[in-house]
């Protein structure tokens, strides 16, 4: 049970990483192919990426939750 729980958490980490990498690829394609006005899309993707790291990797909800 203990190790199964650990495996679930490790898999979640991999899913978050895969999402972040996909975002980074889209960001790169948008940034290199659109010459003007790409910044709103880039900002949006950066905010989503930062949120994913803050939420899943840094566990920011711990601040307002008693126990995770």
């Amino acid at each position: 049970m203990h190790s199964r729980h650990l495996e679930v958490k490790l898999r979640l980490g991999f899913k978050v990483f895969a999402t972040l990498t996909a975002l980074k690829i889209i960001e790169y394609v948008v940034g290199t192919s659109i010459n003007r006005g790409a910044w709103p899309y880039l900002s949006m993707m950066a905010v989503v990426g930062a949120w994913a790291i803050l939420h899943y990797f840094m566990h920011i909800p711990q601040l307002w939750r008693r126990k995770e």
Binding site: L6, F14, F17, K24, G31, L42, I53, F57, M58, Q62
Partner: protein
């Protein structure tokens, strides 16, 4: 009786208090990054030199993201008392962080040739990447510290604050890069 209860509660809350302290530190540090990012737009608008190696910027971004994954795995393993997995993952994080620094070094060598620090873009580029690289370097030192043999005796559920703090710091460095990469390499 009340005093005893209060002391026990204080002790239990220590982890939560530590966390708040760390988050306040992270918040204050992020203001410096925000200020330098705004300087980029103030000095240069959205202009960037064509010689900027965007592909290298992209590759080192993925390297840093991957290091964050390993840091997360290391922290999770420490929380479950899996010392072997913790050590491997933190070592991988350190390796990838060092690789990131090498990438920044290559980028700096190119930068000195095409947009030296005396130019507007060079000023922002070297300040921002230099400041960030210093954070990565101190992060590596911190991660090495939690790998010290004496530390592993203290690991296990509810007693891995040192690991948690260092890994959170490492993720913060990653969050900063999530904004720095598009600001320097992609916005045009």
């Amino acid at each position: 009786m009340n005093m005893v209860t209060s002391i026990t509660t204080d002790w239990e809350d220590r982890g939560a208090i530590n966390r708040v302290g760390l988050w306040l530190f992270i918040l204050s540090d992020s203001f410096l990054f925000i200020a330098i990012i705004f300087t980029r737009f103030y000095l240069q608008g959205v202009q960037r030199p064509s010689e900027l190696n965007q592909l290298l910027g992209f590759v080192i971004s993925v390297v840093l993201l991957l290091s964050s994954l390993f840091a997360y795995r290391g922290e999770t393993a420490a929380a479950y008392g899996d010392i072997r997995r913790f050590r491997y993952n933190i070592l991988a994080t350190i390796g990838l962080g060092s690789l990131f620094l090498v990438g920044v070094g290559v980028e700096w060598a190119e930068g000195f040739r095409f947009f030296p620090p005396s130019t507007g873009f060079g000023t922002v580029f070297f300040t921002l990447t230099g400041f960030h690289a210093f954070h990565v370097f101190t992060g590596i030192l911190g991660l090495l510290l939690i790998l010290l043999p004496g530390q592993k005796k203290r690991l296990g559920e509810g007693s891995y604050w040192g690991v948690e703090a260092m890994v959170k710091y490492w993720h913060f460095v990653d969050v900063a890069w999530v904004f720095i990469f598009p600001t320097l390499y992609l916005v045009s």
